[in-house]
């Protein structure tokens, strides 16, 4: 069972400011999904190794050679706000 305060905690982690009206339905939705998922508790998986990835790949390296990439102008072309060739964010440190 997911409570309203669980939702407030998760939404802070997820950086989503849910409105008051959104909290209760979200708690209900997540509860019903987690109730369904609870079926996995029936399986004994103690000895099973987890799969994070299906391909038998380890680290993939390439030669350390500079190749063409996005120009600064193009990279900044989709910035919401920019200044002096950089992405601009709201103030994060007090003066």
């Amino acid at each position: 069972m997911i409570t309203n305060s669980d939702i407030q905690y998760i939404s802070a982690l997820a950086r989503i400011s849910l409105t008051e009206d959104e909290i209760k339905p979200m708690a209900q939705d997540l509860s019903s999904i987690l109730d369904y998922i609870a079926q996995l508790q029936r399986l004994d998986v103690d000895q099973i190794k987890p799969t994070s990835h299906v391909l038998p790949l380890k680290n993939v390296y390439r030669d350390d050679v500079i190749k063409p990439s996005l120009t600064q102008d193009k990279a900044l072309s989709f910035a919401v706000s920019e200044s002096k060739g950089a992405f601009k964010v709201p103030q994060i440190v007090d003066n």
Binding site: L30, Q39, L40, L43, V45, P50, V54, F78, V80, P90
Partner: protein
């Protein structure tokens, strides 16, 4: 001429014979879109004109799902949060298509960030099923499937994380292939769940599917998860017989809840393939019932991580709340994401965040990854004794718009037969195999070992050559 109603391989023949020009094909698609797309809403944006080189190898226009970057095009995953984001580069699949001479016709509608099975969660509104406009086209690549089914596209690309190519292909009566994980580069595909996502073709027949896979497959240094394995000529696998092929029928896929129409259509398909030499055996995939649960831990967990990049700094939308609550930057993140994401996107990000959070990681995410191993091992065992597995693509034909929108678990269960292929990385194809009593298409799913797409093409081609379902088209009343 209605050039838009032909397949790509037919049009390539016509081009060779001088019966049609590439511009005429493009124009006939544009007029079909102009005429019908107000009703179907398969597209979110289209090209006005096409740059077609006179020496283009394959100048057949292609439609691309709205989560695949096209240089200079707005690319939004059908989400508010990416509105106004103009892609600064081409996805590798787009680069390959352009190199083959295929003009890009448009971006197709999708569930927001591919979170959905009905194309209803798009910020642009739903796409309608061309067979019955009160029904969903499936999802999340519903725009691509509906465009192909309504002849508003010759062929299209979608992406498949849990069935998002195959389920809409089944609902719209077209051919949809999810290639083996790693067969097609994901570079430039806006990520949903990186260990599950794969780009693939939606086409009018199996030959076009093989042709399109030929173009888009192969190793890409820009995607470290793309496989460095040679790409065969898939059209060489289009052989009209199934001699010496063994096909497994997993009992766990023939459960309560499958409509009788679907059951009958699949049984008839088995007879067709038997007559062409296929041998059928009963097999068991005992962990099938856990696939949806496993998926709804792993996919949202990966999604919550992938979608962290949409923070109001780098792309599209930025919103500062009127009243400060926390530090200015935190307020900006939280308000941007609350206004930018739709309800299902928020649900998935929240679910994934929860599954990965301290205290719940072992119970959810780690356990999900372990059950994923069990699901993979089921397939490994079964493929020791058979070349392919045959199942329905979906338990029922298309459902009504609105029917499942407010019941997430019931929506998630519509992907019950498609999810396992993503969890285990294997290729799977959906082909049309019948029409239900209410006039909607039914899909047959074939799956095979990793990198055995050729077996899928051979069986699917044989089926198609000995039936006519892929030629059936909806009669649109617009």
């Amino acid at each position: 001429m209605n050039w838009n109603t032909y397949t790509a391989h037919e049009l390539l023949d016509f081009l060779k014979q001088g019966k049609v020009s590439a511009q005429e094909i493009f124009s006939s698609l544009s007029s079909a879109i102009k005429q019908q797309d107000k009703t179907i809403h398969a597209y979110v944006r289209t090209a006005e004109t096409a740059d077609i080189l006179s020496d283009a190898r394959i100048p057949i226009p292609i439609s691309v799902k709205d989560n695949i970057n096209i240089d200079g095009w707005e690319t939004t995953c059908s989400s508010h949060i990416l509105k106004n984001y103009v892609a600064p580069y081409d996805a590798t699949v787009v680069r390959k298509l352009k190199a083959a001479g295929a003009p890009i016709l448009g971006h197709t509608n999708m569930d927001e960030f591919a979170f959905g099975s009905s194309t209803e969660t798009s910020c642009y509104g739903p796409t309608r099923n061309p067979w019955d406009i009160s029904c969903v086209p499936g999802g999340s690549s519903g725009g691509s499937a509906a465009a192909v089914a309504s002849d508003e596209a010759i062929w299209a690309l979608g992406s498949d994380t849990g069935g998002s190519i195959r389920q809409p292909a089944a609902f719209c009566g077209v051919v949809g292939l999810k290639p083996t994980y790693g067969r097609v580069s994901r570079y430039g595909l806006i990520a949903f769940a990186s260990s599950l996502d794969q780009i693939g073709p939606l086409t009018k027949d199996v030959t076009d599917s093989a042709l399109l896979l030929n173009i888009i497959s192969g190793h890409d240094p820009l995607d470290s998860t793309s496989a460095d394995i040679a790409v065969p000529d898939y059209t060489a696998a289009l052989v009209n017989d199934c001699k010496e092929l063994t096909i497994g029928i997993p009992k766990e896929y023939f459960i309560e809840g499958i409509s009788s129409d679907v059951k009958t259509a699949v049984a008839q398909a088995m007879n067709v393939l038997k007559a062409k030499g296929a041998r059928f055996i009963d097999v068991s995939l005992p962990h099938t019932e856990y696939a949806v649960s496993t998926y709804y831990i792993i996919a949202p967990a990966e999604a919550s991580s992938n979608l962290a990049r949409f923070d109001g700094v780098r792309f599209g939308l930025r919103v500062q709340p009127a009243k400060p609550r926390k530090a200015a930057i935190v307020d900006m993140y939280e308000e941007t994401r609350n206004q930018g994401f739709g309800r299902e996107a928020k649900r998935r990000v929240m679910l994934g965040t929860y599954a990965l959070s301290s205290g719940y990681y072992d119970a959810y995410y780690l356990r999900g990854q372990k059950v994923r191993t069990l699901i993979r091992q089921d397939f490994d065992r079964v493929f020791e004794n058979c070349d392919a597995i045959l199942t329905p693509t979906t338990p029922t034909s298309a459902f009504k718009i609105g029917e499942k929108l407010n019941d997430p678990v019931s929506m998630y269960l519509s992907d019950i037969f498609t999810i396992s292929a993503n969890l285990s990385g294997i290729p799977a194809i959906s082909i049309p195999c019948g029409i239900s009593q209410n006039g909607l298409p039914i899909g047959l799913q074939l799956s095979a070992k990793p990198f055995a797409e050729e077996i899928l093409f051979r069986i699917a081609y044989t089926y198609e050559q000995n039936t006519g379902w892929h030629k059936k088209r909806p009669s649109l009343k617009t």
